[in-house]
Amino acid sequence: MRRQIDYARLIPGIDVAEISEEDEAALRTIASTRQIDRIVQRLLMVTLVVSAILFIAGAIWQVVAHLPPVHHVTQIADLTHTNGPDLLFSLGLIVLIVSPILRLIGVAVGLAQQGDWAFVGVTALVLAVMLASLWIG
């Protein structure tokens, strides 16, 4: 019975009666993958919604206030000295740009929860190489 409840929850609509032994092993893998994917999905949805809200609010503000378009982003250190659509656009772009990095951190958290320290190390290595690229760039 436990098997039915778990798999039916894991994959809605699955025909539990037809699950073979091989499939059962595969479904266990899917279950552990979904643990990480749930963290990643939530993180990505939050960044998507936040950046979309900032972009839409900035665009509406620009049109309603008849403000001239600004063709450059505001640097992070200068964000407190700016206002209006420019601030919203710049913040939205920052949120979007860091989303792949947040995703990596989310993956690392999920892997750590599963005790997969080897791949936590690989994730840290990817982040280190990205930082090195940033420093060189």
Partner: protein, 267 residues
């Protein structure tokens, strides 16, 4: 221009998410040729478009557990290290020579994709990093393993090295490497490639942001359009037949081969 860019970006995002290519190879020529946007602003907007595609598609693919995160990270070490050492290759090969090489290589890759199985569930779970996913189209569990990991990693390193030189994200290289060389099912390949191109683009985008090279009047409508399009593309991608995705990718490779040959000849 805001509305036109937004609408075009919906199509770019859909295609990018559907095929795991990010969409940079489409965005830059479109912005420079059609809208006469300076090349650096076009690349900046393109990087934002690739990240938006990766993030929006990633949210959908994560819901289906199609992304092979561990493989994506192993290969990302290769591609990012490759991109980091791109300067070494630049000393030996000019971009024109590389474009000529790709113009010859891509039809061969397109041809070798013919061998990919149409029925993903038939794959044996062999190799390293064995995993599984539930195909939303067939409703069947697909078990698979990664074959020839060292060869795939080395190719990813070279791909990262070359893609930096050609100014492309590398999605069109990642997909054949994972599917043809490493035996990863096409849907998992596309989802994993989407994950990888986001990481690559984020690094470059931060550099572009810090240098003030991103024009919000171009990047914002594109990002908004891509966020919508990528959701649609990835939704369709999870439900499409693998054969359809394979055919679409082969057409894309042919177009890219022609584009690369043209650039190599005209400079």
């Amino acid at each position: 221009m805001f509305i036109i860019l937004f609408l075009i970006a919906i199509a770019v995002g859909a295609l990018g998410a559907l095929l795991g290519i990010g969409g940079g190879i489409i965005t830059v020529p479109l912005l420079t040729v059609l809208f006469h946007i300076p090349i650096k602003a076009a690349i900046g907007a393109s990087l934002i478009s690739v990240i938006a595609t990766s993030t929006a598609a990633g949210a959908v693919y994560a819901g289906q557990s199609l992304t092979h995160t561990r493989l994506g990270m192993v290969l990302a070490v290769g591609t990012t290290l490759g991109a980091l050492t791109g300067g070494l290759t630049a000393a030996f090969l000019s971009p024109r020579v590389l474009q000529g090489m790709f113009a010859v290589l891509l039809p061969f890759v397109m041809f070798s994709m013919r061998q990919l199985p149409s029925d993903e569930a038939a794959r044996p779970a062999l190799g390293a990093l064995n995993t599984a996913y539930m195909d939303p189209f067939t409703g069947r569990v697909v078990r698979y393993g990664v074959r020839r990991l060292p060869l795939g990693w080395s190719t990813a390193f070279i791909a990262g090295n070359l893609s930096g030189l050609l100014g492309v994200g590398g999605g069109f290289i990642n997909v054949p490497i994972m599917s043809v060389v490493m035996g990863v099912p096409l849907k998992a390949t596309i989802a994993t490639s989407n994950f990888m191109v986001g990481m690559t683009a984020a690094t470059s985008a931060l550099v572009y942001y810090a240098k003030g090279l991103i024009d919000p009047q171009v990047a914002v409508p594109i990002a908004l359009g891509v966020l919508v399009g990528a959701q649609l593309g990835s939704w369709f991608g999870t439900r499409a037949r693998s054969l359809t995705l394979k055919r679409l990718f082969q057409i894309l490779l042919l177009i890219l081969a022609i584009q690369m040959a043209w650039k190599a000849i005209t400079g």
